[in-house]
Protein backbone atom coordinates (compact mmCIF):
# COMPACT_ATOMS: atom_id res chain seq x y z
CA UNK A 1 0.00 0.00 0.00
CA UNK A 2 2.79 2.39 1.01
CA UNK A 3 4.59 1.58 -2.21
CA UNK A 4 1.49 2.03 -4.37
CA UNK A 5 0.74 5.41 -2.84
CA UNK A 6 4.28 6.59 -3.51
CA UNK A 7 4.14 5.27 -7.06
CA UNK A 8 0.85 7.06 -7.71
CA UNK A 9 2.30 10.25 -6.22
CA UNK A 10 5.35 10.01 -8.45
CA UNK A 11 3.28 9.31 -11.56
CA UNK A 12 0.96 12.22 -10.70
CA UNK A 13 3.88 14.59 -10.19
CA UNK A 14 5.78 13.58 -13.33
CA UNK A 15 2.59 13.43 -15.41
CA UNK A 16 1.42 16.87 -14.31
CA UNK A 17 4.81 18.45 -14.99
CA UNK A 18 5.06 16.72 -18.37
CA UNK A 19 1.53 17.81 -19.34
CA UNK A 20 2.15 21.39 -18.20
CA UNK A 21 5.44 21.58 -20.14
CA UNK A 22 3.93 19.91 -23.23
CA UNK A 23 1.08 22.44 -23.21
CA UNK A 24 3.53 25.34 -23.33
CA UNK A 25 4.63 25.76 -19.68
CA UNK A 26 2.08 28.53 -19.14
CA UNK A 27 3.32 30.66 -16.21
CA UNK A 28 -0.14 32.17 -15.70
CA UNK A 29 -3.53 30.84 -14.65
CA UNK A 30 -5.22 27.89 -16.34
CA UNK A 31 -7.14 28.89 -19.44
CA UNK A 32 -10.06 27.20 -21.11
CA UNK A 33 -10.26 29.72 -23.94
CA UNK A 34 -7.51 31.35 -25.93
CA UNK A 35 -7.81 34.47 -28.07
CA UNK A 36 -7.11 34.31 -31.78
CA UNK A 37 -6.40 37.64 -33.43
CA UNK A 38 -8.14 38.23 -36.75
CA UNK A 39 -7.71 41.27 -38.96
CA UNK A 40 -10.49 42.70 -41.07
CA UNK A 41 -8.94 43.53 -44.42
CA UNK A 42 -11.38 46.32 -45.28
CA UNK A 43 -11.36 48.26 -42.03
CA UNK A 44 -7.94 47.21 -40.74
CA UNK A 45 -9.52 46.43 -37.38
CA UNK A 46 -8.07 43.64 -35.31
CA UNK A 47 -10.74 41.46 -33.73
CA UNK A 48 -10.57 38.65 -31.22
CA UNK A 49 -12.09 35.21 -31.71
CA UNK A 50 -12.11 33.03 -28.61
CA UNK A 51 -11.33 29.38 -29.16
CA UNK A 52 -12.00 26.62 -26.66
CA UNK A 53 -8.65 25.20 -25.60
CA UNK A 54 -7.38 23.90 -22.28
CA UNK A 55 -4.04 25.40 -21.30
CA UNK A 56 -2.91 24.29 -17.84
CA UNK A 57 -1.44 27.01 -15.68
CA UNK A 58 0.48 27.17 -12.45
CA UNK A 59 -2.74 26.59 -10.47
CA UNK A 60 -3.19 23.26 -12.28
CA UNK A 61 0.45 22.36 -11.66
CA UNK A 62 0.24 23.45 -8.03
CA UNK A 63 -2.91 21.40 -7.41
CA UNK A 64 -1.34 18.31 -9.00
CA UNK A 65 1.89 18.69 -7.01
CA UNK A 66 -0.09 19.26 -3.82
CA UNK A 67 -2.09 16.11 -4.53
CA UNK A 68 1.12 14.17 -5.13
CA UNK A 69 2.60 15.56 -1.91
CA UNK A 70 -0.47 14.55 0.10
CA UNK A 71 -0.37 11.03 -1.32
CA UNK A 72 3.36 10.77 -0.55
CA UNK A 73 2.75 12.16 2.94
CA UNK A 74 -0.09 9.74 3.62
CA UNK A 75 2.17 6.87 2.60
CA UNK A 76 4.35 7.56 5.65
CA UNK A 77 1.43 6.80 7.94
CA UNK A 78 0.57 3.55 6.23
CA UNK A 79 2.15 0.43 7.73
CA UNK A 80 4.89 -1.09 5.60
CA UNK A 81 3.04 -4.41 5.27
CA UNK A 82 -0.62 -4.85 5.96
CA UNK A 83 -1.55 -8.18 7.46
Amino acid sequence: MKRYLRMIAAVLMVGAIAFWVAAGANPGWTKTRVPKRVTDEVTGLEGVQWQDKFVPGVDFLGAALLGAGILAGVSYFVPAKSK
Binding site: K31, R33, T43, V48
Partner: protein, 202 residues
Protein backbone atom coordinates in the same frame (compact mmCIF):
# COMPACT_ATOMS: atom_id res chain seq x y z
CA UNK B 1 -40.22 84.62 -59.93
CA UNK B 2 -42.01 81.46 -58.81
CA UNK B 3 -39.57 79.36 -60.81
CA UNK B 4 -36.57 81.03 -59.15
CA UNK B 5 -38.12 80.48 -55.74
CA UNK B 6 -38.75 76.81 -56.55
CA UNK B 7 -35.13 76.35 -57.65
CA UNK B 8 -33.89 78.09 -54.51
CA UNK B 9 -36.04 75.85 -52.31
CA UNK B 10 -34.87 72.75 -54.20
CA UNK B 11 -31.20 73.76 -53.89
CA UNK B 12 -31.57 74.51 -50.19
CA UNK B 13 -33.34 71.21 -49.55
CA UNK B 14 -30.76 69.25 -51.57
CA UNK B 15 -27.77 70.86 -49.89
CA UNK B 16 -29.36 70.30 -46.48
CA UNK B 17 -29.97 66.67 -47.37
CA UNK B 18 -26.37 66.28 -48.56
CA UNK B 19 -25.02 67.88 -45.40
CA UNK B 20 -27.20 65.76 -43.12
CA UNK B 21 -25.22 63.34 -40.98
CA UNK B 22 -25.29 59.68 -41.90
CA UNK B 23 -26.39 57.14 -39.36
CA UNK B 24 -23.94 54.28 -38.83
CA UNK B 25 -25.08 51.04 -37.23
CA UNK B 26 -22.40 49.34 -35.12
CA UNK B 27 -23.91 45.88 -34.90
CA UNK B 28 -21.22 43.98 -36.75
CA UNK B 29 -22.32 40.98 -38.86
CA UNK B 30 -18.68 39.85 -39.11
CA UNK B 31 -18.08 39.79 -35.36
CA UNK B 32 -14.86 41.80 -35.56
CA UNK B 33 -16.02 44.74 -33.44
CA UNK B 34 -14.59 44.42 -29.99
CA UNK B 35 -13.76 46.24 -26.81
CA UNK B 36 -10.61 44.96 -25.17
CA UNK B 37 -9.73 45.44 -21.53
CA UNK B 38 -6.61 44.87 -19.45
CA UNK B 39 -6.05 44.90 -15.71
CA UNK B 40 -2.71 44.36 -14.03
CA UNK B 41 -2.55 41.45 -11.61
CA UNK B 42 0.35 39.82 -9.73
CA UNK B 43 0.77 36.55 -11.66
CA UNK B 44 -0.28 37.82 -15.09
CA UNK B 45 -2.37 40.68 -16.40
CA UNK B 46 -6.01 39.94 -17.03
CA UNK B 47 -6.70 40.44 -20.72
CA UNK B 48 -10.17 40.09 -22.09
CA UNK B 49 -12.55 41.36 -24.69
CA UNK B 50 -16.21 41.95 -25.34
CA UNK B 51 -17.94 41.35 -28.64
CA UNK B 52 -21.57 42.16 -27.87
CA UNK B 53 -21.35 45.68 -29.25
CA UNK B 54 -24.15 47.71 -30.79
CA UNK B 55 -25.22 51.31 -31.17
CA UNK B 56 -25.53 54.10 -33.68
CA UNK B 57 -23.37 57.08 -34.53
CA UNK B 58 -24.47 60.08 -36.60
CA UNK B 59 -21.48 61.19 -38.64
CA UNK B 60 -21.18 63.95 -41.19
CA UNK B 61 -18.06 63.66 -43.34
CA UNK B 62 -18.26 67.40 -44.01
CA UNK B 63 -18.38 68.18 -40.31
CA UNK B 64 -16.83 65.37 -38.25
CA UNK B 65 -16.83 67.54 -35.14
CA UNK B 66 -20.61 67.31 -35.01
CA UNK B 67 -20.52 63.53 -34.57
CA UNK B 68 -22.96 62.18 -32.00
CA UNK B 69 -23.51 58.64 -30.93
CA UNK B 70 -23.96 55.93 -28.39
CA UNK B 71 -22.08 52.65 -28.20
CA UNK B 72 -23.31 49.86 -25.95
CA UNK B 73 -21.50 46.73 -24.83
CA UNK B 74 -23.40 43.75 -23.46
CA UNK B 75 -21.79 42.99 -20.09
CA UNK B 76 -22.39 39.26 -20.51
CA UNK B 77 -20.21 39.27 -23.64
CA UNK B 78 -17.06 40.03 -21.64
CA UNK B 79 -14.66 37.12 -21.88
CA UNK B 80 -11.40 36.33 -20.10
CA UNK B 81 -9.39 33.13 -20.64
CA UNK B 82 -9.86 31.73 -17.12
CA UNK B 83 -13.40 30.42 -16.44
CA UNK B 84 -13.29 31.15 -12.68
CA UNK B 85 -12.12 34.72 -13.28
CA UNK B 86 -14.95 35.20 -15.78
CA UNK B 87 -17.48 33.85 -13.31
CA UNK B 88 -16.21 36.25 -10.64
CA UNK B 89 -16.04 39.17 -13.09
CA UNK B 90 -19.68 38.80 -14.13
CA UNK B 91 -20.84 37.97 -10.62
CA UNK B 92 -22.56 40.18 -8.07
CA UNK B 93 -19.38 41.30 -6.34
CA UNK B 94 -17.76 42.69 -9.49
CA UNK B 95 -19.80 43.71 -12.56
CA UNK B 96 -23.14 42.15 -11.55
CA UNK B 97 -23.99 41.45 -15.19
CA UNK B 98 -27.52 40.33 -14.37
CA UNK B 99 -28.45 43.61 -12.70
CA UNK B 100 -26.33 45.82 -14.98
CA UNK B 101 -26.48 44.16 -18.40
CA UNK B 102 -24.95 47.00 -20.41
CA UNK B 103 -21.90 49.27 -20.48
CA UNK B 104 -22.58 52.47 -22.39
CA UNK B 105 -20.64 55.41 -23.80
CA UNK B 106 -22.71 58.29 -25.13
CA UNK B 107 -20.91 61.21 -26.72
CA UNK B 108 -21.77 64.80 -25.93
CA UNK B 109 -19.07 66.94 -27.49
CA UNK B 110 -16.09 66.66 -29.82
CA UNK B 111 -13.05 68.86 -29.14
CA UNK B 112 -9.61 69.28 -30.73
CA UNK B 113 -10.99 67.95 -33.99
CA UNK B 114 -8.36 67.41 -36.66
CA UNK B 115 -9.18 65.94 -40.04
CA UNK B 116 -6.70 64.73 -42.64
CA UNK B 117 -8.21 62.96 -45.62
CA UNK B 118 -10.65 60.33 -44.39
CA UNK B 119 -9.27 60.31 -40.86
CA UNK B 120 -10.38 62.48 -37.98
CA UNK B 121 -8.90 62.57 -34.52
CA UNK B 122 -10.63 64.26 -31.61
CA UNK B 123 -11.16 64.27 -27.88
CA UNK B 124 -14.70 63.17 -27.15
CA UNK B 125 -16.47 64.08 -23.97
CA UNK B 126 -19.33 61.83 -23.08
CA UNK B 127 -21.06 59.83 -20.42
CA UNK B 128 -19.62 56.44 -19.57
CA UNK B 129 -21.97 54.17 -17.66
CA UNK B 130 -20.67 51.05 -15.95
CA UNK B 131 -22.37 49.04 -13.22
CA UNK B 132 -25.10 51.65 -13.03
CA UNK B 133 -22.66 54.50 -12.33
CA UNK B 134 -22.42 57.28 -14.93
CA UNK B 135 -19.34 59.49 -15.16
CA UNK B 136 -18.30 62.11 -17.63
CA UNK B 137 -15.14 61.08 -19.48
CA UNK B 138 -13.03 62.65 -22.18
CA UNK B 139 -11.39 60.08 -24.42
CA UNK B 140 -9.27 60.33 -27.57
CA UNK B 141 -10.86 58.85 -30.68
CA UNK B 142 -9.79 58.22 -34.23
CA UNK B 143 -12.53 58.08 -36.85
CA UNK B 144 -11.88 56.71 -40.30
CA UNK B 145 -14.56 57.28 -42.92
CA UNK B 146 -14.50 54.66 -45.66
CA UNK B 147 -16.79 55.86 -48.39
CA UNK B 148 -18.46 53.15 -50.52
CA UNK B 149 -16.52 50.39 -48.73
CA UNK B 150 -19.48 48.56 -47.18
CA UNK B 151 -19.80 46.33 -50.23
CA UNK B 152 -16.22 45.15 -49.78
CA UNK B 153 -17.07 44.00 -46.27
CA UNK B 154 -20.65 42.83 -46.65
CA UNK B 155 -21.45 41.36 -50.06
CA UNK B 156 -24.47 42.74 -51.94
CA UNK B 157 -24.65 45.87 -49.81
CA UNK B 158 -23.76 49.37 -50.88
CA UNK B 159 -22.84 52.09 -48.47
CA UNK B 160 -20.16 53.58 -46.27
CA UNK B 161 -18.19 52.43 -43.25
CA UNK B 162 -17.08 54.37 -40.21
CA UNK B 163 -14.24 52.94 -38.14
CA UNK B 164 -13.79 54.14 -34.57
CA UNK B 165 -10.70 53.42 -32.51
CA UNK B 166 -10.07 54.59 -28.99
CA UNK B 167 -7.76 53.76 -26.09
CA UNK B 168 -8.43 55.06 -22.62
CA UNK B 169 -8.30 54.11 -18.96
CA UNK B 170 -10.86 54.14 -16.19
CA UNK B 171 -10.67 53.32 -12.51
CA UNK B 172 -12.92 50.54 -11.31
CA UNK B 173 -13.27 52.34 -7.97
CA UNK B 174 -14.97 55.24 -9.81
CA UNK B 175 -17.70 52.86 -10.88
CA UNK B 176 -18.32 51.17 -7.56
CA UNK B 177 -16.51 47.98 -8.57
CA UNK B 178 -15.03 46.86 -5.27
CA UNK B 179 -13.57 50.30 -4.48
CA UNK B 180 -10.46 50.03 -2.33
CA UNK B 181 -10.64 46.24 -2.25
CA UNK B 182 -8.51 43.50 -3.84
CA UNK B 183 -6.06 46.08 -5.23
CA UNK B 184 -3.21 43.68 -4.43
CA UNK B 185 -4.88 41.15 -6.73
CA UNK B 186 -6.45 43.30 -9.44
CA UNK B 187 -5.37 46.83 -10.32
CA UNK B 188 -7.74 49.75 -9.87
CA UNK B 189 -6.93 50.96 -13.37
CA UNK B 190 -8.54 49.30 -16.38
CA UNK B 191 -7.15 49.92 -19.85
CA UNK B 192 -9.84 49.86 -22.51
CA UNK B 193 -9.40 49.56 -26.26
CA UNK B 194 -12.34 50.12 -28.56
CA UNK B 195 -12.11 48.90 -32.16
CA UNK B 196 -15.41 49.09 -33.99
CA UNK B 197 -16.78 49.63 -37.47
CA UNK B 198 -20.26 50.85 -38.30
CA UNK B 199 -22.20 50.56 -41.52
CA UNK B 200 -24.39 53.06 -43.29
CA UNK B 201 -26.18 51.27 -46.13
CA UNK B 202 -27.48 53.30 -49.06
Amino acid sequence: MKMKLAILVLMTTTSAALAAPQSFDFKDPKGINNAGFKLDAPLESINGSASGIYGTVAFDAANPGATQGKITVATSSLIVPNPMQRQHMLGKEWLDATKFPTIIFESKEFKNVQTAGDTTTADVTGTFTLKGVSKELTVPVKLTYLKDKLGDRVPNQKGDLLVIRSNFSIKRSDFNINPGRFEDKVSDSIEITLSVAGASPK
